[in-house]
Assembly symmetry: C2
């Protein structure tokens, strides 16, 4: 299985606005393993950048500290493979900042594809997303932490990707697992 093109697909892990167990909008805390797992995944599938989105100053500093340890600190020498993954991470305050960065980098507006564990009105399936990517235009995949992306983020996205289904009724994957399955489904032949 090989990727037939260098994907123009960016990934953003959203910590605000997301919802909690009760459906309220919150800013979630950053989970260290999310950074490592999704950065390694992005590197494996040739994703050019992995954005970590949080408006909280202390959380932004925390992510920068982790990234710095593995890219320029002791971690870079201890585990060069990890350096190659974590150097894809960019911390941004908002989705708007992410979109501005992609525009600056590629010269093109990015289309935004939200994800959810439930079907949404603007759903596209994995096959349709693969076709969209073939155009070479930039796409940004949004992953939600906590209980998922807030309704306003999903409503503002150009598309929502169909939920990952494993053939059972159970739809409670971790964001790390969902990210792995989604990238594999859309980026391998």
């Amino acid at each position: 299985m090989k990727v037939s093109y260098a994907p123009n697909l960016y990934v953003a892990l959203i910590h605000y606005p997301v919802i909690n167990k009760n459906g309220e909008t919150i800013a979630s805390a950053v989970t260290n393993l999310d950074l490592h797992d999704i950065a390694r995944l992005a590197r494996t599938y040739g994703v050019p950048n992995f954005y970590v989105v949080t408006p909280l100053v202390d959380q932004k500093r925390l992510v920068e500290k982790v990234v710095s340890h593995w890219t320029t600190g002791y971690g870079a020498t201890y585990n060069p493979a990890r350096k190659k993954a974590l150097e894809l991470i960019l911390v941004k305050k908002s989705l708007g900042e992410v979109k501005a960065h992609i525009l600056e980098k590629t010269g093109r507006e990015t289309r935004v594809v939200a994800t959810s564990a439930r079907s949404k009105p603007k759903n596209i399936d994995f096959g349709a997303f693969r076709k969209l990517l073939r155009s070479g235009k930039p796409y940004l995949l949004l992953l939600g932490t906590a209980w998922g992306l807030s309704d306003e983020v999903i409503a503002a996205a150009d598309y929502t990707l169909e939920p990952v289904c494993g053939g059972t009724e159970y739809n409670h994957l971790s964001v790390r697992s969902a990210a792995a399955i989604i990238l594999d489904r859309i980026l391998t032949l």
Copy 2:
């Protein structure tokens, strides 16, 4: 995408014998998120049990404590979806104990499929593994922690599954990501 059969596939996360960065055989420590992520994944894909293998008494107790919190303790009420996932976990001291449990449960010897980030002599590809599973016979997928399964485990397995490739040279996925991609590739239509 739907699973066309109830898979007779079991998953075991091995903490001994695995190798460290220097290729030495070690017993690794259990990572809490491995338990949650892989249990949720197993539940999503209809895997009947998820074995956590460690010979260390304190680690075994730790896993049992985590599982008990989410299946019969406060966590079971707080998050019933998590209960449904973690109740698939069984802690075993060795691979031998896992095989004995599957024999007792199904009345049949299980075939063992090891995983590795590198190609191995007895490699089968994802398509071949899917076909083997269609027979309905029990199969056990081994996942390694730390720097991967020891050579003796791989040599003793019936097969080794081809490595997950994302179209780049980079082959350093977390065991959580690899598990997600592998189950999705072999269990969805």
